[in-house]
Symmetry: C4
Subunit: 284 residues, 4 copies
């Protein structure tokens, strides 16, 4: 029993140590692991990209695929260790980064089951999803939450905006299909809608362009409307950002606990109690 206790302690010690190294970001060895992981991810993605270039594939194809398998095995071990050391493995597996960690290793194994040139290319593209690992950087940087929060607060406005843009593009695409016609590249309404989106977003590939005078006049109108439309997401996001910054002083009312008071607030706006200035500085 003493031995069992000792083992448990060791296991806990081993698991705790791993947990600290993998999930911690402050000590020397923890930061070393983070940097090594990011470097490995970056090289793995770069190799996958080089592998798609015909010339590199011909010359170093074997080495690139070996590196691919090496990275995959390392990521698999890391994934299993993560599952082993977290308190709630199932909760981690279903979390955002848990799913990404799994997706980052699956494509290489799937390439064994589904042979054939066509399918291999499909898997190769899924493989690139490993780049999502890099997004983990966001948790280091810590500012991503401000951006995501601003996006989250604007989600309904964004939905209305996207629906309006697609509706407008559909109407303009149909009008241009009618005006320009198949002989000028507008071979169908879906193609016209594609052109309208490309034009309104000011991308303007130039693969389809209006050739008739009327078509060019309508295009001018579409562009001026698109001018205004491009202002909308910027306005939504900027207002959310500015509003997020203004929320400012992180005082919480002692009586009712309300947070987010104005910068010059001296009384809680909900219960009327006097606010006591926090002594700690904002941690930005």
């Amino acid at each position: 029993m003493a031995q069992l206790e000792f083992e448990a302690a060791t296991t806990r010690g081993w698991r705790a140590e791993c947990h600290r190294i993998i999930f911690g970001h402050s000590r020397r060895d923890e930061r070393l692991f983070d940097v090594a992981l990011i470097v490995l991810i970056l090289f793995s993605v770069l190799f996958a990209m080089f592998d798609s270039v015909a010339q590199y594939d011909r010359d170093w194809g074997q080495w690139l695929r070996a590196a691919e398998w090496g990275a995959t095995i390392l990521f698999t071990i890391e994934y299993l260790v993560r599952l082993a050391v977290v308190r709630h493995p199932w909760r981690y597996a279903r979390s955002f980064f848990g799913v990404i960690d799994l997706l980052a290793v699956l494509p290489t194994y799937l390439s064994l089951l589904f042979v054939g040139a066509q399918h291999l290319i499909v898997i190769r593209v899924l493989r690139i999803l490993r780049v999502f690992r890099i997004l983990k950087l966001s948790q280091y940087v810590g500012e991503a939450s401000v951006l995501l929060e601003a996006l989250y607060h604007s989600r309904r406005k964004v939905l209305v905006f996207v629906i309006s843009v697609i509706s407008l593009a559909t109407i303009f695409g149909a009008i241009m299909y009618l005006v320009e016609g198949p002989e000028n590249g507008f071979t169908s309404i879906p193609r016209g809608v594609y052109w309208a989106i490309v034009t309104m977003a000011t991308v303007g590939f130039g693969d389809i362009v209006p050739k008739t005078g009327l078509g060019q006049a309508i295009t001018t109108v579409i562009i001026i409307i698109g001018y205004g439309i491009i202002a909308v997401p910027t306005g939504i996001f900027t207002a959310a950002m500015v509003s997020g910054r203004r929320r400012g002083k992180s005082i919480s009312c002692i009586r009712c606990g309300l947070e987010e008071h104005a910068d010059d607030a001296r009384f809680c706006r909900r219960c009327g109690d006097r606010l006591v200035q926090a002594s700690t500085a904002p941690e930005e």
Copy 2:
């Protein structure tokens, strides 16, 4: 007379029930109707778009037109029921969505009167206006009003901006017509204006491009000016959005006179006095 009263009650019951299902958006059957309507509209628009693709029209043209007629008949019934159950049918018919509801069914019927390939295509494009129905989503989402209000408050600035852009584009189009000339694609001033709009709005199709050194130098100047111009609608809209958020509840504290309280404020944040809700709506 009892029977008549009974009938009236039934009718009122039938009309009230329909009104509730069509115009309500909270209960289970009301939401079911909304979702069914949106799905039907989406499919109807998609079918109209597919119908314009030569290949699909050849293979499934008959089915697509049958679906088209089915959707039109359903929308017509829906329109008539709406007219029947609202208290002021004429007011509804003249309202924004009343006109759109009518426009959404008319094109298919018009295609019976005006035969001929040319005209049919015209009607097909009007038919796509049915997509405006989707805009009804905005009334569900409820955030559209914020966007529209911001646009409405900026309407005069937008007008000044659009006139300035068109004036600038006219002058630059004429200059480029002079500098580059018809041999480099600038065949007329209107075409030069079209190019100037495409360039200033940063669309840049590339169908017309400056070829001479002087023309490219002027283009550089136009683009830098356009750089500044694209900032204007964004600035207008963002300022309107930020200002709209800040306006908040226009209550002024009775004791200290502080204005601009948060939307959920019940006590003045400066003097702690209870805020008394103003009964009047904001008059701006």
Copy 3:
């Protein structure tokens, strides 16, 4: 002498009447004059644009030139009347709109002196400057001043921004000239700078594009930098607009006359005197 006095009165009456009609914008006949003027300007510009289209010039060239002369004579009379009825004719002649009014009629007269196809085209493009008259609309709309003031307050930031963009474009243009070389369209550094401006401003004509792998990699970097750069004028302008709106409450201190107080100010920030709330509403 009585007659002379009568004449003077008549003259003054005639001049005052004309001044009222031309410079006023409130009564029925004043507004009629404004609308007639705008319509005439619009048609005159449209005719000048149509005149440049080869087909229209061939078919209706004579009529377009006749209309051109008609408009020019009307504008000349209007210009002379304006000079006659204003109190300080010389000050008007040197004012912004005075110069534009003169420039709007000069080109047609100049086309008499400088004959020859080449020169006529030059004059034709100056003729389009008449479109500046439309900018007079701004004085009706009245919101242009807000936009111009926001631009004016940002003039130094805009200068720094433009110099930075041109410097960056010069460096990137030179790098791309080196990397891609004349065989890929980058025939000289000025052409490379033109390409860099077109790319950084997200216009992207596509007349010159990177073909080598290294060139495309550098282009990606340029575009990401350009991504950030396009945010700068918008940020400058929006901040100026928001700040302009915030300045808000137009109270002037009774003691020291300082204007532009914060919305919640109760004491003058310069002399400490209590501010007295103005009874008039903001006139927006």
Copy 4:
């Protein structure tokens, strides 16, 4: 010894005089030096640009190179004088503008050591770095610091943003490589990533465009996502600008504790008490 003292005074006088002329920007001769320097830099850069145009190089190549050497010698003298008159020459040499001053003269001397057409072109492009001198203008204009500060405060958000954009571009590039394939121009994943960046940033060269229906549908989705993404840097920068303006003077009123006074405030706007200037600089 008296002579030595006299010499020291003279030297100090000569050095102080030079220092005043070179680093001062207020008196007549100081401003004359600044303007002469800027004009010389501008012409030098223009000559380097003209030298790259084949036609100008053939006609005036010798003169352009002579002017190049003249400018280089003048800049070298200026650099040495700067080193001689500043109190800490080594600190100046390592400063931002010290390094730029050196980089502005080095390329011409390097062109002596590394002969050969290939290398000469490399040096020529380095030579254009002299344009950085123009950035010195920023220290005259003085508003650059506001822009740079706004960028500096947003540096972490910008990093998160750039990483997100590159990640998205990698995934979309791979998907398009799969969907469109080498036969439609997407010859490799890196090329697909290049296309995705060009598209998401709304540049849209049009050298690579989707040809299949599925590819165009995915492009539409990418563009709509890019629509939102272009709002992010603008939002970040604008919020930093607005916040920078609002921050103002960080004085808090001693009596009522109100913070955020205007830059020229001498009395608290809430209680009218005199503000006491804080001696400490803002610590953020």
